[in-house]
Amino acid sequence: MNARVFVTLKNGVLDPQGKAIEGALDSLGFDNVDAVRQGKIFDLKLQATSADEAEKEIAKMCEKLLANTVIENYSIELRD
């Protein structure tokens, strides 16, 4: 089974990298951008007998390692 995990900063957590990207976009003339938040994507290939099992397993991986839940949220997208 393939899955994609999105890890993003929680609302309210300042994102200095997103801010710098926002500034760079602005300097390139994209002055219609109101805000940029940077995140991470993980593509996983894993063995699982059901979508439900895969999702539960990946949630555990996120809680234990892939995300720092003090500052980050995660979401899981299963693909076939």
Partner: protein, 229 residues
């Protein structure tokens, strides 16, 4: 006072820490490889600075999940003194031994320079030797020292006297301008609620003799020696 230093691939301040501990305590510290799942009986465990695992995923994230850190957690949970410096601070927050998280510096630059620190708590096991001279210059060398925590967590740190060090100017004024990395409430180092774990971004191990430009970094270890005695 007996101590141990945990070693991970990618650290670069481990030898400085080992040398500083030996010089100040008079006992050779144990150097413990991260794969070793057993800690010798010691008063103090130190997680030193550097770039464990190349800062992959997040600074300190991989090291925080190693067998050695599980042992460090047991040591700390039992009340054992535990110090994390720089990457060590990041590792201790990632491992849940200290609250909050360390993010990329406000201006996105790696900072390697001397700043000033103010010991805000001068009664803890780690800081009791700073009462007479709480303000001192100290080196920093980090890319991810921008400490953050949610408002409730910050209030708890403030109310419990868990803020060990703040960034300040040479006169001891804690100001935004003196904060090198954007850290919330100008925090440079924090204690856990029980006061037996300290995490800090600056490098006291590089401030232990006159040739370093100052020896105020010794006071942390000397405070511990006092606390253990």
């Amino acid at each position: 006072m007996k101590s141990a230093v945990i070693l991970f691939p990618g650290l670069n301040r481990d030898r400085d820490m080992l040398a500083a501990l030996e010089k100040i305590t008079g006992h050779k510290p144990h150097a413990i490889w991260h794969g070793d799942a057993e800690l010798p009986k010691v008063d103090l465990v130190v997680v030193p600075g550097g770039f464990s695992y190349g800062d992959y995923l997040r600074a300190g994230a991989i090291a925080a999940r190693s067998p050695a850190l599980a042992e460090v957690k047991k040591h700390a949970d039992a009340g054992g003194l535990t110090l994390g410096v720089c990457n060590g601070f990041q590792i201790l927050t990632e491992a849940g031994l200290l609250p909050g998280a360390l993010m990329r510096n406000r201006d996105l630059k790696f900072l390697c320079k001397t700043i000033h620190l103010k010991a805000e708590n001068t009664t803890s096991a780690f800081t009791n030797q700073y009462a007479e001279q709480p303000v001192f210059p100290c080196p920093i060398a980090h890319h991810d020292g921008n400490y953050t925590i949610d408002p409730d967590g910050l209030k708890q740190l403030q109310d419990n006297d868990q803020i060990a060090f703040r960034y300040c100017d040479a006169d001891g004024n804690v100001t935004q301008a003196a904060n090198p990395n954007g850290s919330i409430d100008d925090i440079a180092g924090i204690l856990n609620a029980k006061g037996n774990v300290l995490g800090m971004m600056p490098h006291p191990e590089n401030l232990i003799e006159k040739a370093h430009g100052g020896n105020e970094g010794r006071f942390i270890v000397e405070s511990l020696v006092e606390a253990v005695a």
